[in-house]
Symmetry: C2
Subunit: 203 residues, 2 copies
């Protein structure tokens, strides 16, 4: 019943680069046994651009991936972009503690959406695949005390929406609907599904 196989060789026919400096994305890709180098792209989001949330994350995921893929045309390059959306408005990273406070206050007792775009590009093999994943996250009612404690202790200014679902703030997550890892910044199941089709045809 149990089939012996060496998945690693099948699944990694060419070298991979992750075009992101996010430690969370690194950790998630390591979790699924892929080997890769990290080479962050220098592309930055322009939040004034007129795109819907799913267009936005796919656009920037692809820009980031291509930025590096052009320099390493024999590598598969993974780009990703994550945003938090409330009432159709994109929340980026807060610029200071007060903006962080206001942002978290606005998410209290409500459901918001996390979008991540992922783009896989291998120039020499003519591979180009871009997709996105959306997850709904519902917070409990957040007291000012809870928000203040979190900002003081965790200083979440480097995070879209001003929280990390994998840190202390998780105590305030009432429920999620969709892929959990997407909220951390990388939709593992969707990625693996696309990836394995690209590299093996089927698996």
């Amino acid at each position: 019943m149990i089939i012996k196989l060496n998945l690693s060789n099948n699944l990694q026919p060419f070298p991979i680069i992750l075009a992101s400096s996010s430690p969370r994305r690194k950790q998630l890709l390591e979790m699924i046994d892929l080997h890769f180098d990290i080479n962050p792209s220098s592309v930055h989001e322009d939040f004034q651009i007129n795109l819907s949330p799913d267009e936005f994350v796919q656009y920037y995921a692809k820009e980031k991936s291509l930025d590096i893929a052009r320099k390493y045309p024999d590598h598969l390059v993974i780009g990703a972009d994550t945003i938090v959306v409330l009432d159709g408005k994109i929340l980026g990273k807060p610029k200071d503690s007060n903006e962080s406070f206001a942002m978290l206050k606005s998410l209290s007792d409500r459901t918001h959406s996390v979008y991540t775009g992922v783009s896989l590009n291998h120039i020499n093999n003519e591979i180009s695949d871009t997709f996105f994943e959306k997850t709904d996250v519902t917070f409990i009612k957040l007291t000012d005390r809870t928000i203040s404690y979190y900002i003081e202790t965790y200083n979440p200014l480097d995070k879209a929406g001003s929280y990390g679902i994998q840190d202390w703030f998780s105590v305030n997550v009432k429920k999620i609907n969709g892929c959990f890892y997407n909220v951390m910044g990388f939709p593992l199941a969707a990625f693996f599904n696309h990836y394995k089709r690209l590299v093996t045809g089927e698996w």
Copy 2:
């Protein structure tokens, strides 16, 4: 706007014991800044017992907590019990690779439920609070190859339902509905909500 406070002192008025040997529960409780000792209970589940899933996990969470709380009446003791339920049937830990294969095969392309019961007991302070959390988990269609690779590589015989949502198997999770950490074995948000009411009245 930002309130300074020392949460740690407020939130931990007495010593805490986690009555579980699960490294995942330890990791999750550490994530929310609690300090605790580990003293696993010796209570084992009897899967022949005639209880519904929510009754089952609450019953064993309380048994485990009280087992240790009686020995340390001045500590708050946390007990927990997690099961996987498919079609009303409880899936425990598989006894060997073949049972693991069959179990994962049965979860393919379907939604199952993960129940965790948590019980908090402090004998001297007459605290006793028991609750449960349920999360629905949907897997993509699992090929025999995927299942075999996972069993060969990760040997998931110590896990209820024969998978860990925090390891490689996460690539097969299409979506979850509810608390993610509950699937890892400890519903952090529900726990913290109960805990803070117990120790501070309100927060």
